[in-house]
Amino acid sequence: MVINQESEVFKSITTLGKYVGNTPLYEIQHLSPKPKVKIYAKMEWMQFGGSVKTRPAYQIIKAALESGELGTGKTLLDASSGNTGLAYATICARLGIPVTICLPENASWERKKLLKGLGVNIVYTSKFGSSDESEAKAHEMYNNEPDKYFLANQYNNENNWKAHYEGTGPEIFEELGDSITHFMTGLGTTGSFTGISKYLKERDPSIQTIGLQPDGALHGLEGWKDMETAKVPGIYDTSLVDAIKHVDTYDAYDMLKETAKKEGILLSPSSAANLKGAIDLANEIEEGVIVTLFPDNAEKYSEIIKSLF
């Protein structure tokens, strides 16, 4: 059943679109090692829901409402280690759509409390199994009760990368145009890397697109997947990868502290890792314009902040 586009839920998500995306592109002032290398980062926490994941969550939910897969009483179901779950939760709270998230039980208490506060039904998966096991659980629940759930399937949903292809990529190019020489970001669902890289390369094939990876299978970079040991998302387009670079979690923590002191920004560990990757690259080139993302800020990481400061 396709829902009426004049319905309240449809009006509500259309209105919400005004608060999704269009985030500031911030120029790093003091941390670039070379004056001829500019580094920019999209401050993705400055939108509804407070993280980069609002973009794919919004696009996935809107497309599901348009197709009638959601909005007819079904529960949105997916696996998430944090930000995507929170993005679904914030959007669906506004729309009155129930949400069930499969979450590794070793996620922080803060994530659990925030999800619960937003009315999410949490299904915990083993602390040994990472988000891969949460993903398998979500698929199992959907297969058992397909009439009850809409499986958002962030790791394989084309609307994930399309949100960045249609939103984040054009926003970046509109501001910086063909001055961009490099784009880089951490690989998790790979939605932001795939969507933005695809858009930028179509506009200027000379732009180098670099995927960032943690330096090991266990790491402290929320949302990142080690592609060597984790299940590779279906939307990952390796043809867009010009290079892979690695970031050590400890280096990201140091960068988090340095960015707070020198730029006045309290970043999340994964945002700090993206900046660390950009600065490492800046050390390798003589001039250029490097663009990255700040997926979220430190607001939801009190346990890490407590241990660092």
């Binding site: 944090g82 070793n106 922080s108 208490w109 602390k127 040994f128 402290g220 040991t229 346990e303 241990s307």
Partner: protein
């Protein structure tokens, strides 16, 4: 011998085994025995200073060793040790 449960992302480095029997009388010696058996695990668990990486939580049974005697926590032959990645800072 005590037993260490290997989290899924690390099983690749431990012949795809879910649990490994280890020798030792405390947490640190048990984990050192683990990385002696499977050297590829060493850089996954220990940092450059030889410390267990701080975003990895170690449990003795149901208890985080931070609430016990950290790496010096004594273990027995029937102890089950867990290595848990901390997602967004958490492990509980």
């Amino acid at each position: 011998m005590a037993e260490i449960i290997i989290p899924t992302p690390l099983r690749k480095f431990a012949d795809n085994q879910a649990t490994i029997a280890v020798a030792g009388d405390n947490i640190l010696s048990a984990i050192e025995d683990l990385v002696t058996q499977f050297p590829d695990l060493k850089k996954q668990i220990f940092d450059a200073q030889g410390q267990i990486k701080r975003f990895i939580r170690i449990y003795k049974g149901e208890d985080d060793i931070e609430s016990l005697d950290n790496e010096k926590t004594a273990i027995e032959a029937d102890t089950v040790i867990s290595i848990i990645p901390a997602i967004a800072g958490g492990a509980n």
